[in-house]
């Protein structure tokens, strides 16, 4: 059904379509609209889920964990400080191999209080064993949330998935949305290690070094297998519903000599910048990284690369720029831009390309090349 919705409403609509058994939620700007909309669905009877209005994000994830280990489908949503407050349980969910799906509306971290877009919140959770995907449009937020459940719950994965959307820029932007009848696209969940009182077991008991190490390796193996599951899920989604995105979305990339790499809404903005540059005779293209974990294998050889990080690791660098350099020898220009919701236009992005200085880092609007 074609409609108009915000990014937040799109996430809520997708959640309604997959009918989680238990949803635990705590409000935080700019995520609040998701949990409000879901509360509406549950109250009106449109969605038959147990809705737990918890007293904190730590408890939101703890409640999802308690529900998920019984074999129930679970969902929660958060943002920024909420995500950091639940950090302990974010780790627990992945370690316990629970296919929880969470929407995170990317927002800066205080102090001072800033409610606008930045990726640092979710990037701080990148080593927890969660799969992470970043979306750029309202439709993509909807489609990806549907896919997230199928990927998380797939027998070859059984890991939690975090769907990230930029605060306000996407969470509160109205765009057209085609909602789906997902049918059996997301099959019923079968959790192999669900609690069974007829077959009692101890979960998370005291674990020695050898077993702990083995469990960590199992998480990594599942993470590696998830690449294939993501690809299969995308393929089936495209066949059924006619849309696909890829682990990274390419735009005029094939013959590009210089490539802009960005995530979320900045990745879409970069496409407009590419058109501008092409009109000027610059052979530009763009690549929008969608999946942060598992990190995509990108072949950037023979191209100049401009990376825009809406994040930073102090004393280290832009996290995407540094991650790309760790994987391959690439001469890139690292741009730090958009922190705390700083406005970054397609003209600005075109400017980054025109004035690129490979091997240096730019803090846009704050400091020149450093």
């Amino acid at each position: 059904m074609l409609t108009i919705a915000t990014g937040n409403k799109a996430v809520a609509a997708a959640v309604k379509e997959v009918k989680p058994d238990v949803i635990a939620a705590y409000p935080i700007t700019p995520q609040t609209e998701i949990v409000e909309q879901i509360a509406e669905y549950v109250t009106s009877g449109e969605l038959d889920s147990r809705y737990i209005p918890v007293e904190s994000e730590h408890s939101a994830m703890a409640a999802c964990i308690g529900a998920s280990i019984t074999g129930a489908r679970t969902f929660t949503a958060t943002s920024s400080h909420g995500l950091l407050y639940m950090h302990e349980m974010v780790n627990w969910a992945a370690g316990a191999r629970l296919p929880i799906v969470m929407a995170n509306v990317n927002r800066a971290i205080g102090p001072g209080w800033n409610v606008w877009a930045e990726h640092t919140d979710a990037f701080q959770e990148r080593d927890t064993g969660w799969l992470q995907v970043y979306v750029s449009t309202v439709q993509e937020a909807y489609d990806t949330t549907l896919m997230a459940f199928r990927i998380a719950e797939h027998a070859d994965v059984i890991l939690p998935v975090m769907v990230n959307l930029d605060g306000f820029l996407l969470s509160h932007s109205m765009q057209s949305l085609d909602t789906l009848n997902a049918g059996d696209f997301v099959p019923p969940l079968h959790l192999p290690h669900a609690i069974d009182v007829l077959n009692p077991a101890g979960y998370g008991t005291l674990t020695g070094p050898d077993e702990h190490f083995r469990f960590r390796w199992e998480i990594e193996k599942a993470m590696r297998r998830s690449r294939k599951v993501i690809a299969e899920t995308e393929r089936d989604f495209a066949e059924r519903f006619g849309r696909s995105y890829g682990v990274a979305e390419e735009y005029r990339y094939e013959d590009a000599d210089v490539v802009v790499i960005a995530m979320g809404t900045l990745g879409k903005e970069a496409e407009v910048a590419v058109d501008l540059l092409r009109n000027e005779g610059v052979n530009a293209g763009s690549l929008r990284i969608r999946w942060l974990r598992p990190f995509p294998d990108l072949d950037l050889s023979g191209r100049e690369v401009v990376v825009i990080d809406r994040d930073y690791s102090f004393g280290f660098g832009g996290i995407i720029a540094q991650s790309l350099m760790a994987r391959q020898r690439v001469d890139l220009y690292s741009v730090i831009a958009g922190l705390g919701g700083q406005e970054v236009t397609y003209d600005d992005i075109a400017g980054f390309v025109r004035e690129r200085r490979p091997g240096t880092e730019l803090w846009f609007g704050v400091n020149g090349n450093v």
Binding site: S59, V197, A201
Partner: protein, 293 residues
């Protein structure tokens, strides 16, 4: 006599200390609850007592979870079982640190939401698993590894905090009175909503008494009036037999304090504070039981 089932859910391979009250309490909790039960256990002595992976000494499913998360985890579990049409008992089994300190926010939230579960706090009045540091539940005057001169603050009144949430059922119990505990667990599990049982767990290494004295120590706590056995069903308070007797004719609290190494060297002021706290609590409960307040 209450008929207590012979079936054991605590197997003979725990890694508990000799004379451990927590294992004794859990043994009777599970006898009362039966096989259709899941335990949620935050970080506490029971995290270790149940054994090392891949073994377990507990013959019902045990979900171990992070320190502050037990009541919230149980909320999710309870809702999921209800959604699936299952009547499985969800029981949190948590120590005093995980209840009165780090876990109290989750506890408060779960009780405010009237989560259908039973929360049992086994209270050995310190952080036992990490080697006896003070908790909010440590009584005044008690020496712990972080209060080597004796604790200067009073024990937090956990029961009053829980009572303020108007739970379906609230009771105290003691490791030395297993039949009383058994009956209370059974009764709690017949009621819907949030239930709470606070069980005193005299801890031989923590309180510094010899391991065959656990039951005796629990009895001294009750007879001296420092621990009062009572229950409150939907707010109606009943003081239980042993404590009724203690209210008429208590033994001197010094008889309880002097046999524990943790109270060695306790000063008069702290003893008076303990006495006064116990007296006030007894008076308050008596009034509640008579329906005066």
């Amino acid at each position: 006599m209450t008929e207590i089932p012979k079936e054991e859910f605590i197997l003979k391979c725990t890694s508990a200390c000799a004379g451990c009250p927590s294992t004794l309490i859990l043994r009777y909790v599970l006898k009362a609850a039966g096989a259709d039960t899941v335990l949620v256990v935050p970080a506490c002595c029971t995290s270790v007592i149940q054994g090392i992976y891949p073994n377990t000494a507990v013959n019902v499913p045990v979900y171990n979870v992070a320190f502050a998360a037990a009541a919230a985890c149980a909320s999710g579990m309870s809702e999921a079982f209800q959604k699936a049409g299952k009547k499985t008992n969800v029981i949190v089994y948590a120590g005093d640190g995980g209840t009165v300190d780090i876990g109290i926010q989750a506890l408060s939230g779960a009780f405010e939401r009237e989560t259908d579960f039973l929360y049992i706090c086994y209270d050995n009045e310190a952080y036992g698993n990490t080697g006896m540091q003070r908790s909010g539940s440590t009584p005044i005057g008690a020496r712990t590894t972080t209060t080597p001169g004796g604790k200067v603050h009073a024990k937090k009144d956990l029961d009053a905090i829980v009572a303020a949430h108007n739970p379906s059922y609230l009771a105290t119990a003691c490791a030395a009175y297993p039949q009383d505990l058994f009956k209370k667990v059974q009764k709690a599990l017949t009621l819907r909503g949030s239930k709470f049982i606070h069980v005193l767990a005299p801890c031989p290494p923590g309180w510094r008494f010899s391991s065959e004295m656990t039951v005796e120590m629990g009895k001294l706590a009750v007879r001296s009036g420092l621990w009062i056995l009572y229950e409150s069903e939907f707010g109606k308070v009943t003081i239980n037999g042993p404590s009724k007797a203690a209210m008429i004719k208590p033994i001197p609290i010094e008889d309880y304090l002097s046999v524990q190494g943790r109270f060695k060297g306790i000063d008069r002021k702290a003893i008076d504070a303990l006495k006064s706290q116990a007296d006030q609590r007894a008076k308050h409960l008596q009034k509640e039981a008579e329906g005066i307040c």
